[in-house]
């Protein structure tokens, strides 16, 4: 733990350890940089794009986490739990199905700690994310998940990861972000308290997307325990979407963490708006938000109609950098002027 500011006041000689301070953003290692109440990710207020004067809207910038997404929280919590049970070693690593962000967080954390990591991912994941996983030190296994739609077939990547964990249990353990309660706990212990503190308990609405559902379930549990009136508004992309990491309700059966009772409102948003809105957020607010954030922003915009009042927090899961190819696909005009 970093020393408190008072420790510095009473100290006359500064050693590198003693200058460690999250207030000053000096960390002794990357694990210390992981978020929590004492080291929250920033909230940034939406100004130009806020259509409702009576509603204060913030974006929580989860790309400010060490490995660039909200998934750092769940990954750290899941690894902590596995370590507590002595399930990880230099020869027994992690296997996890992932669309990218959880894999990247797990791979980076595992690498630094000396654990092997195999990421099993659907082919549709952008090349950039696949390369990032390789750069972080993970082995990849890419699965074609879209051969021919079948109810109950499940995700090929989930089943392949389960295969490794079951058949090669001396080499791999599968955190399974879709079922692991630590994914929920991470948000009960960090994201929820951060928001509560950062808004001085004034938060009235949170806007989240649905993927593994660890975020929505953990946040809802914590915030409603502080104030049962807090409204949890979840957005889902329309069917046929190409927003990485998100799931439409029809795709949610793989997540055992989804609890419909905790969600006050579920909005289905045309997935194309995810891309349109996030570009707007970048240009008008300077927020380099990724497509899932664009979808969440649309949810907030819709919920703020008709003169709503309160303080809303949108969870912006990651930034735009990993998805530039997807933007070029949605907006071919972006490619204009990119060649000499």
């Amino acid at each position: 733990m970093p020393p408190s500011p008072s420790d510095h006041e009473t100290s006359h000689t500064s050693t590198p350890e003693q200058i460690s301070s999250t207030d000053q953003r000096v960390y002794q290692d990357i694990f210390e940089m992981l978020p929590g109440v004492d080291n929250p990710t920033p909230l940034v207020r939406i100004n130009q794009l806020n259509p409702c004067e009576t509603f204060t809207l913030y974006a929580k910038l989860e790309w400010m986490n060490p490995f660039g997404s909200i998934k750092d929280r769940a990954a750290a919590q899941m690894i902590k739990a596995l370590e507590a049970n002595q399930e990880l070693s230099a020869t027994r690593g992690i296997v996890e199905p992932t669309s990218g962000n959880t894999g990247l967080s797990l791979a980076a954390l595992a690498s630094v700690k000396g654990y092997p990591m195999r990421a099993v991912l659907p082919n549709k994941v952008p090349l950039t994310k696949k390369l990032l996983l390789r750069l972080a030190g993970a082995e990849l296994q890419v699965i074609n998940d879209e051969l021919c739609p079948a109810p109950g077939l499940g995700d090929g990547s989930i089943n392949m990861a389960k295969t490794y964990a079951k058949a090669q249990s001396t080499r791999y353990v599968m955190p399974n972000q879709y079922e692991n309660q630590n994914n929920v706990e991470a948000h009960i212990e960090t994201t929820g308290p951060e928001i509560w503190n950062q808004t001085s308990g004034q938060v009235t609405h949170v806007f989240v997307s649905l993927g593994t559902c660890g975020t929505v379930t953990g946040l809802a549990k914590f915030l409603k325990s502080q104030n049962p009136e807090v409204r949890v508004i979840a957005v889902q992309p329309s069917e046929g979407h190409d927003v990485p990491g998100l799931r439409n309700i029809s795709q949610l059966e793989v997540s055992k963490l989804y609890d419909a009772d905790l969600i006050d409102e579920l909005l289905e948003i045309d997935f194309r708006l995810a891309y349109q809105n996030s570009m707007e957020l970048f240009r008008k607010e300077g927020l380099r938000a990724g497509p899932s954030s664009g979808l969440i922003f649309e949810g907030a915009r819709q919920a703020m109609k008709s003169g709503a009042e309160g303080v809303g927090v949108m969870i912006f899961c990651d930034d735009i950098f990993k998805y530039t190819d997807s933007y070029a696909r949605h907006f071919p005009e972006l490619l204009d002027g990119t060649e000499p």
């Binding site: 021919c148 109810p151 077939l153 295969t163 079951k166």
Partner: protein, 289 residues
């Protein structure tokens, strides 16, 4: 399972678990994803690669009698063994293997109901990476019986005369020609659409969430009542390369009990490329992509 026309062609995962060591029972995994077997498989099973071991790439045909004999002998499979086939994607290629084994006269062959995904998701079912080896056998296949194999000229004739039920088991997007093949597939065709007169019943409508086959009543409802398959006529199932249609062939022949069912394994990669073969494509007026 007991209600099916021939319940003996299926075993449950529980039966499989109890018979892993049974003499004369052999487990064979055949997957779409040929990496799956190496990642983990049922103890004692052998893996067959559909692309290189069930097809003859030189002749663009299913495996020859001699090739099949060599394959099964190499795996120590005897003629009187009971073969339990299973695989990923709810037994797509396991059903393809079943169909080929039947063409070559293997008597005792069954599918494990639910396939690989059901086994994987049941806590009491083990997986291993150990590769068990068996003494080489001397498997002797019969001449190929083509009664249940449709070839393209026959299919064109049946389509033109409307004298058979043509069941296109691909996804609706493939059937309508919106896509030529599922994403990521290398085997495609010049044109998207379907064989004139075909009804679209995606293979997956025959399976439950856990990967097992639906009940007989449900299957009859799907194929006979909703899709209008006439049991008094011959039926031909097709897809893109013949594996998904093997799955539906299995359903129609063994579970519902239709008398005359064929698998057209040339399927869309053959028909869709054929010069002079008319297609139907609801989204366009001309027969083009």
């Amino acid at each position: 399972m007991a209600d099916y026309a021939d319940p003996n062609v299926l075993v449950t995962t529980d039966w499989a678990l109890e018979n892993l060591e049974t003499e004369g029972v052999r487990f064979v995994e055949i997957d779409v994803d040929n990496n799956a077997f190496d990642a983990g498989h049922i103890p004692g099973s052998v893996g067959i690669n559909w692309a290189t071991e069930l097809n003859d790439p030189v002749n663009r045909d299913i495996v020859s009698r001699e090739q099949l004999e060599s394959l099964l002998s190499r795996h120590g499979i005897q003629n009187d063994d009971t073969l339990i086939l299973y695989g990923d994607n709810n037994n797509w290629f396991a059903a393809f293997g079943f169909w080929i084994l039947k063409l070559y006269g293997h008597e005792h062959v069954k599918l494990m109901n639910g396939g690989r995904v059901k086994w994987l998701n049941e806590d009491d079912k083990p997986l291993t990476t150990d590769q068990k080896t068996f003494p080489t056998a001397h498997y002797s296949a019969q001449e190929m019986d083509t009664t249940e194999r449709a070839l393209v000229l026959e299919v064109m004739q049946l389509s033109a005369n409307r004298t058979a039920n043509l069941v296109d088991v691909r996804s609706p997007d493939e059937f309508t020609g919106k896509v030529i093949a599922p994403p990521g597939m290398t085997e495609t065709a010049q044109r998207g659409g379907h064989i004139p007169g075909a009804a679209n019943v995606p293979w997956s409508t025959a399976v439950n969430q856990d990967g097992t086959f639906k009940s007989l009543d449900e299957l009859k409802q799907i194929y006979l009542e909703t899709a209008g398959v006439d049991p008094s006529k011959p039926t031909v199932a097709y897809c893109r390369i013949g594996e998904r249609s093997s799955h539906t062939w299995f359903v129609l022949k063994y579970l519902i009990g239709l008398a005359n069912v064929k698998n057209y394994d040339g399927s869309w990669t053959e028909y869709g490329n054929l010069i002079g073969a008319p297609i139907e494509k609801p989204t366009a007026t001309t027969a083009s992509v």
